[in-house]
Symmetry: C2
Subunit: 199 residues, 2 copies
């Protein structure tokens, strides 16, 4: 069965499309996808990669492009969502904790729903708390664990692993050492793992 590493970061706008469609897509294509949260802001800051700040025309296009593609995938969204989010670290620490405990995917999907449907900033404790409720987690306990030095370090380690793989933005898909950047490259990644080239 094809196996794809899905590197995402809560805070990334285009990751919304992937996060919302990935379960159906994986089932349809019989693909195994490993959800791997990292801190894309660390990576982008280090690489002076600032795609939207101070670029109103490109930002407006980004929202329109996401809107058109959400409609294509039959995904509901109220756009633009609050952006950029104030802090990426905590939301992604919680996601990483959740991935190790089995509720990380539901949490991430819920958080993106709160952000892109209800307009609640994904980095806020309000949104994180509600998303934790939605996957039957006690927010107080989960947040305490997510803030522990272990999880903080784990997210940094994952972020470093992503950098070493050549990841520079989110979402990215990595298969057999090959990086595919952007929700619109998901099918390319599958093609690569199956036949070793893009079809």
């Amino acid at each position: 069965m094809p196996e794809i590493d899905f590197w995402f970061s809560i805070g990334s706008t285009y990751s919304f499309l992937t996060i919302k469609r990935l379960d159906d897509w994986s089932a349809e294509h019989d693909a195994t996808v490993n959800w791997r949260p990292f801190n894309v802001r660390t990576v982008m800051s280090e690489q002076q990669n600032i795609p939207f700040a101070g670029k109103p025309i490109k930002s407006a296009y980004m929202w329109r492009d996401i809107e058109r593609r959400a409609a294509k995938y039959h995904i509901h969204a109220n756009l633009p969502a609050p952006y950029p989010i104030s802090d990426l670290a905590l939301a992604n620490q919680v996601a990483l904790l959740g991935m190790t405990e089995g509720w990380g995917k539901t949490y991430t999907q819920s958080l993106y729903g709160l952000w892109f449907e209800d307009g609640i900033e994904a980095g806020s404790e309000t949104a994180i708390t509600e998303a934790l409720h939605r996957c039957q987690q006690d927010p107080r306990l989960a947040l305490a664990r997510a803030r522990s030095p272990d999880i903080v370090q784990s997210l940094e380690n994952e972020t470093n692993t992503a950098i070493q793989l050549g990841v520079f933005g989110a979402p990215s898909f990595v298969v057999r050492g090959e990086v595919f950047w952007g929700d619109d490259r998901l099918d390319d990644a599958l093609s690569w793992v199956r036949v070793g080239h893009v079809v």
Copy 2:
């Protein structure tokens, strides 16, 4: 018949994919495409949009992504090509002149061949001269016309038109006032002109 405005700029790397595959694609989809050169560097400088300079990881990815997609489209290329090119204006002035005289498409395709297959920088007079030879134009006469105030002004006008339409990068496709950015959005643009949404 669907009609698409194809805004491109000699100097844009991803435009290579579109320029090389567009004739076959247009025939296959029975689509009419208007080739419209503009100066993307003017637009991007004004909008502080600097996607690759000083970003080695993202630049390396860009070449790899183009390589994979060129293979997908069965387009030959020797990558990386010299980049960035020193000057965009003259090459695009010649393209604009050629569009009005009927040889602009052949010139553009030839020039991208010289750039991406033979490694000759597309903005150089060497490359422009050879591309003009390949479409049976006298380089001395064509370059003189391309440098005339009329053509210089025309390229600036086209660039301003592109900006007014919301174009911020190349290649872009504009249909019914809707902008689609990137070679990978060509099918979206066709879908938009045909059915008014992305399928």
